[in-house]
Every structure is written in structure tokens, then in C-alpha cells.
């Protein structure tokens, strides 16, 4: 194939090819960057949480009466919930996992935050949380039932928030002690809890407390379970059922627990799966919008490439006939048009490389994302090449079917 002649013929009327190359460059810029943003958003929405999301639901109540007592209510409710057929385990918690609400604090391996420090999400839960969340305990044990600190009354003095035994996640154990095996029996010092320490008695494999914050925030995986009944009047329970019995148990609990007044209102119930899904809604929606937009971009660019190829084929019908008449095969003609198209796409990709990186730089600042890995550039490049060839295939095939006899006809 005569590349030189081909380039020269493209260059004779450069505007059309240049326009196309510019489109290709812009599409590549949008494609690589959007793919990256979508990847980041979906990554935050689809990671494993470490919990048995499918079989967990939560129910909450709010005390309103003057004589409402958090401690006895929680004790009563947990006894009821744990006695139900189909329930694996139930625990009380201070805040709901998989939402953006949680108790964020910091701790250290030495007093007064002088040792290895970490920001953590702290959950005040009752002793059955490992089973109630379906967590995988890799070392040690759960806190003993008598380590659970009773609910503070809001009128009383600021007592301890939680008991002396805590469970942490494996990533936190790695960070603080260099491995789960070194964590058991070690003290942790909290910036809350009157500066008292608690001992690590167990390590769970994984727990993502909150959906990931895009701009940093490893702390969502640095989870501490502290044994306590959280202060009232809001009571919140997490209940894990046997597989397939979630709906049945939920219906029963809603029926039976609601009428038990005890100076409170049972006000909400939801599956943890739905809660997690809703918390990720805005990330997921953005990913959908961006994916739709980039499919438009790809479609319009392919349309442009298709249009250009059709136009060149149509306006060169006579030349094609002549070439065929003097011995060019159908394959030659097909290759000619595909190669012409490939040259344009490639020129666009080369220019696109630069604009994509420049745009990515602006994007990092705007959306506070980490740097885009090269793989997204390479993938966008591959996709655009493939799309370009696909768009030109039909017109090139039409061109290759032009009969040599066309050359002999007058226009």
C-alpha cells in the first residue's frame, strides 16, 4: 500500500480529516476520563462490606415518655429479638453501618495519643455483633456479655462510653500492631472514654463501616467495636436472619414490636441491603449519567467517521472503478479505505493523548481524585481504534463492490 500517496491525497483537502481527528481526540479525552471517574464511583459502590448484607435488617425506636428507660428497653427488645425462630443473632448499635452517619474518633497504641495513631469509626454494640453482622472473626473472641457498658442516662455524669474489651478490623490491626497476630491482648487508648484504655480481644477479617468517601478516608475500614448500650432515647437494632427468612422475620417483628409501647415509638425498619444501596445512590447516579454521556460521545464520533468514509467512497466511485480496471483487487480497495480511516483515527489518538492528560490534571483538582492510571488511556485508545474501524467498515465494503466497468461510464 502506498502510504505516502494516501497521506498526500488526504492532505489535499485537509479540513475534513482534521475535523475528524479533532473529534477523535476530544472523544478520547472524554472517554478515558469518564471511564476513570465511573470506575472510581462504582468501586466505592460495589466493594465488599464484610457483612452478610443480604440477611440483615435494622429496626429503630425513639423514646418519648418521661419514664422511658433505655437500658431496660434494649435488654427487653434484644431478648425478644434473639428468641425469634429464624433469627441468627441480634445486637443493639449506636449508629447504622453503611450510612454516612457514624461515630468518628481517634485512638492510639500509647496514652495521650502518643503512639501509632489512627482515625477510626467506633461502633457501640452489644456482645452478639459478630454473629448479628455475619463478620468473620480471624483471631480471639467477641467481648464478654458483662463487658457491655449499660446505657448512660443523659442526666447523669459523663460515665465511660464503653467497656474494657474491644474488637478491631484486620486492616486496623495491621496498621497499629503490624498484624492481627500481634494485636490480641494489646491496649488501645482513645481520645474519648475519659482517656481510658481498652484491650483488643478479637480481630475480624473485614468491615467497611461507611460507604467510601472518594477523597480519602481509609478510616471507614478502620472499625472498632466497643461493647456498650448506646445512650438513649434512640434505640437501634441489627438483626441477622437465616438465609431466606428475612421477609418473614421482618414482618413478624414489625407486627409484634410496634404495639409494645414502653414509652417509645418503633419508627423505622429497613433491610441493610437497601440502606447500603441508598447511601451509594448519588455515586451510582453520577456513574450512570456519565456512562450515558460517553456512549453519546462514542456514537457521534462513530457517526462522523462513518459519514466521512461514505462521502469519500461516494465521491470517488469513478476513481475506484479505474483502479479496479487496472488491476486492484476488492481487498486492495477495502484496505485502502480502512487504512485511510485508520490514519485519521491515529492522528486523533496521538493528539488525544496530550489533551486527555491535560484534562485529567484539571479533573484531579476539581473532583479530588487520585491520578488516573495509564490503563485508562490505553483502554480508551484501543476502544477508539476499534470503533473507528467498525464505523468505516460498511462504507469501505460498499467501495470495494464498485464494478470496474464504472470507469468506462461518463460520470
Amino acid at each position: 500500500m502506498n502510504i505516502k500517496a494516501l497521506t498526500r491525497s488526504l492532505w489535499r483537502d485537509p479540513l475534513g480529516p482534521l475535523l475528524l481527528a479533532a473529534q477523535v481526540a476530544l472523544s478520547m479525552m472524554i472517554f478515558a476520563n469518564v471511564a476513570y471517574v465511573v470506575f472510581v464511583r462504582l468501586d466505592t459502590t460495589s466493594r465488599s462490606t464484610g457483612m452478610d448484607l443480604e440477611n440483615i435488617f435494622w429496626i429503630s425506636s425513639q423514646g418519648y415518655a418521661a419514664d422511658y428507660d433505655q437500658q431496660s428497653t434494649v435488654k427487653f427488645d434484644l431478648e425478644y429479638l434473639n428468641s425469634l425462630p429464624g433469627v441468627v443473632a441480634a445486637c443493639a448499635t449506636d449508629s447504622l453501618p453503611q450510612t454516612f452517619v457514624g461515630f468518628r474518633t481517634s485512638l492510639s497504641t500509647a496514652p495521650e495519643l502518643k503512639g501509632v495513631k489512627s482515625a477510626v469509626l467506633l461502633y457501640q454494640m452489644t456482645e452478639k455483633f459478630v454473629d448479628a453482622l455475619g463478620l468473620h472473626l480471624v483471631r480471639g473472641r467477641a467481648p464478654a456479655a458483662d463487658a457491655v457498658t449499660p446505657a448512660r442516662s443523659s442526666a447523669g455524669p459523663a460515665a465511660n462510653l464503653f467497656g474494657p474489651e474491644v474488637v478491631i478490623t484486620e486492616v486496623l490491626a495491621d496498621r497499629l500492631f503490624g498484624g492481627a497476630e500481634h494485636a490480641i491482648g494489646k491496649p488501645l487508648y482513645f481520645s474519648v472514654n475519659n482517656g481510658r484504655s481498652a484491650t483488643v480481644v478479637g480481630v475480624v477479617e473485614r468491615m467497611q463501616g461507611s460507604p467510601l468517601f472518594v477523597s480519602g478516608g481509609d478510616f471507614v475500614n478502620h472499625v472498632v467495636f466497643a461493647p456498650a448500650v448506646a445512650a438513649g432515647p434512640h434505640a437501634l437494632y441489627l438483626i441477622r436472619t437465616q438465609p431466606g427468612r428475612l421477609d418473614e422475620v421482618m414482618a413478624r417483628v414489625w407486627q409484634e414490636l410496634r404495639p409494645l409501647q414502653r414509652g417509645r415509638t418503633v419508627n423505622a425498619m429497613e433491610t441493610l441491603r437497601n440502606t447500603a444501596w441508598q447511601a451509594r445512590a448519588s455515586d451510582r447516579n453520577e456513574a450512570i449519567v456519565l456512562a450515558v454521556l460517553s456512549s453519546f460521545v462514542l456514537a457521534v464520533t462513530m457517526l462522523g467517521l462513518f459519514g466521512f468514509a461514505s462521502f469519500t467512497v461516494a465521491s470517488r466511485t469513478k476513481e475506484i472503478g479505474t483502479r479496479r480496471a487496472i488491476g486492484a483487487t476488492r481487498g486492495d480497495i477495502l484496505r485502502h479505505f480502512l487504512f485511510e480511516n485508520w490514519l485519521i483515527t491515529t492522528a486523533g489518538i496521538v493528539a488525544g493523548w496530550g489533551v486527555t492528560l491535560a484534562f485529567a490534571l484539571q479533573l484531579n483538582m476539581l473532583l479530588e481524585l487520585p491520578r488516573m492510571p495509564m490503563i485508562f488511556l490505553v483502554a480508551a485508545m484501543g476502544l477508539i481504534w476499534a470503533a473507528g474501524l467498525l464505523a468505516a467498515l460498511m462504507p469501505a465494503l460498499w467501495g470495494s463492490r464498485v464494478a470496474p466497468a464504472v470507469a468506462t461510464r461518463a460520470a
Partner: protein, 453 residues
Amino acid sequence: MLLWHDLRLALRSIQRNPYISSLIVAVIAIGIGTSVTAITLYHAKAGNPIWWKDDVLFRVMLDSRPLSGGRDNPRHPDYPPVTLIYRDASAIYESKIPTRSAMMLAASGLVDALRPEIPTFARSGRLTTREFFSMFDVPFLYGNAWSKSDDSDQAPVVVISRTLNDRLFGGGNNVGRVLTFSGQRFTVVGIIDRWLPLPRFYDVGRSFSPADDLFFPFRWAESLSNLRFPGYCQQTDSDLWTFKELAASECIFMNLWVELTTPAQYQEYRNFLNNYSRTQQQAGRFARPPNNRLAKVSTWLEMNDVAGNQSKFQVILALIFLGICVLNTLGLLLAKFMTTAPLSGLRRALGATRGDVMRQHLLEVIVLGALGGGIGLGVAAVGLRLIRVFFFWQSARAGDNPDFATVAQSLSHMDAQMILLAIGLSLLAGLLAGLYPAWKIGRMAPATFLKIQ
């Protein structure tokens, strides 16, 4: 007459190549539709709902941060925290310099109308001082704000929203009736008319939620011990929730707005704040030198990134996409005009000037652009509708609070401004794409085309 003639020529030319013409219209339509959708969503979020008071309302911020530790604003580490320590907020609130000032906190609690047929339900309330209503131009339907003495005496009074009034009492003037919030009885003294500032500049954590349903004198924060307020303690880097603990601590959680009508007042108030900070620094409470800020509403919204960089990003992408569509249209127009070039050549040979040919082609482009723009508006309307149905309503528990639907509606509403923008954009896109091809056709020597035939 001439225009009429040109228009007929343009329409005939469009009909001659229906395939390529409809492609051009489709490409413009999808570009305009996408851009207008993105810009509408951004426009609704980026508005200033109290623009007429933008240079008199200020959010007060003091730098009470310790020298290290704590959470800085990730984008602007030099900014003071957005909320205040209770001690500082109540001291500053006492200042007589501002025309008005209002402290506020939001909290959710259970509402009971004391009527057995209406079960209790949770609603968001605002604990604030009486100036809130006059400062933010809140319209009253019945009754009034509470009095100055109600603020200091912790009177059991409440101002409720029209939505809550409808739900609890079935509408009408219900001033004087009683409800309970978080177990405490309150008498209704005022009912506010529909008031839905978006974004809710005074509550940026929940900028796009319905307005609060209940307003109470601020001092009720002390006695409604069931309410939880999100506070943050900088010294220990941890959260705290109850007012009792928060008020006694050095934790930040208070919101304070002031109205400063004249520049002299502003200057005086600034000096007052700086003196206050300096005194606190000398007393050893504040670790840093005065770094206070008075942010007007627009600055405040910008500081908190209320419009959201995600929406900004989508607008940028949509405009680049429109750019791609223009390039595409340019290519299509070139091809289209080249195929009909012999006709133009003939027209030139019969006496049409270059200007005539160019004008005729431009008009054709404008017609195509206008068609594309019109269809693009339809595309945008469909796009916004889809976004409203799928995205906004899925997060709001529909039916629970009718105001959620109102918020969704106003966030995805295409107003006259947006329609004008769509028309402007499509004409601009048409012109950008059409100028060069029209000029090129006009410039060609008639003989070039006649010869081939």
C-alpha cells in the same frame, strides 16, 4: 421577499438530502439536549436563593482550631471551621452591632399533634432565635415570630410550616393550638407560608432537603435532652452529640448568622470579632491569631461547594460534547454542500453573487440549527424527567413528605432562562458549524462545477 425566496431555497435543499439533513438535525439536537440538561441541573443547584440580601447577610466563623490535629477544610486549610463553640457563639450573639443576628441548630424529633387519629412521626426542627424569620425574609401565613422575651424565657412556643399545618391540623389558622415535639408541649404562635429556599444556604449539610417543619426558641436545646446535634471536638478529634456535653465543651457545632446593613457596621463588627479572638488568645483559649471570616451568602455557598463539583464536571463534559457535535455537523455540512455544489455553480453562472450563495447556505444552516435546537429542548425535557423520576425520587421516601417532590421538581425545572439558553446555544452551534462551509461554497468559481457536468 428576498428572505422568503432564500427560505424556500433552504427548505428545498434540506428536502433534497433528507438523510444527511436529518443526521445534522439529530446531532445538533443531542448536543443541545445534553448541554441544556446538564446546565439546568447545575443552574438549579448554583442559585442564590436570597440574592437580594447577599451583601448584608453574613455567616460568622472564628478560628478556634488547636495548632495541630483536628480536621481542616481539605480544599482551604487556612479557613476557620464553619461552626462555633457554644461559649463563643452566645458571647458574640449578644453584640449590639449587627442589625440582626440569629443562632441556630437543627435537630430531628418526634411530632405528636395530640390527636389519636394522627400517629407520631419524625420531623426536622430548628432551634433558633426570633431574628431568623425577619433576617431570612420568611413569609408568615398566620401569626408571627415569637417575641424577644420568649427567647430569653424559653417560652413553649413553636412556629410551624404550612406543610406540617396541613398534615397535623388539616390547614387553616391554627395559631394557639398545641403539639408536642420530643415529648414537650408547645403552643403554635405562627405558621409560615410556603418557603423553600434552594439551596438551603443556612443549613448546607442538607442543602437540597425540604425546609424545616418546626422552629423553636433556641434555649429549648438545653432542655430537650433527647435531641442530638452533630458536634466535633477538635482537641480530641472525635464527635459528640448531646447539647449538655457540647455546651460545656470546646467542641464546635453552633451556627451564627448576622445582618450587617452598612459598610461601617461591617467594619465595626469585624473589629469586634478580631478583638474578641485576641482576648481569647491572650486568655489562652484560642491557639491561633485572629483568622475570622464573615462570609456573605454567595461566598458561603461557594466555600461549602454546595453546587457540587460533580455538577460542574457534568456541565464541562456536556459542553465538550456539544463541541464534538459542532465539529461533526461541520463535516456533515461540508459533505452536504459539496454534493449540491454544481447547483450553486449553476446559480452563480446565472448571475447570483457570492454573497447570495453564501447567504442562502447560511440560512439553510440556521434552519437546521433551529430544528435541532427545538428537538434538543424536547430531548432535555425528557432527560430531566428521567433524572427526576429515577434519581431524585428514589432517595426521597415518596409520600412521607410532599415537599420532597417539590424539591425534586424545582431542581430539575427548565425555566424560561434555560429555554432561551437552548435557543441561543443552537443558533451559535449552527453558525459555528455553518460559517466555514457556507463561505467555502460561496467562494468557489462557478466554472469548477459546471465543467464536470
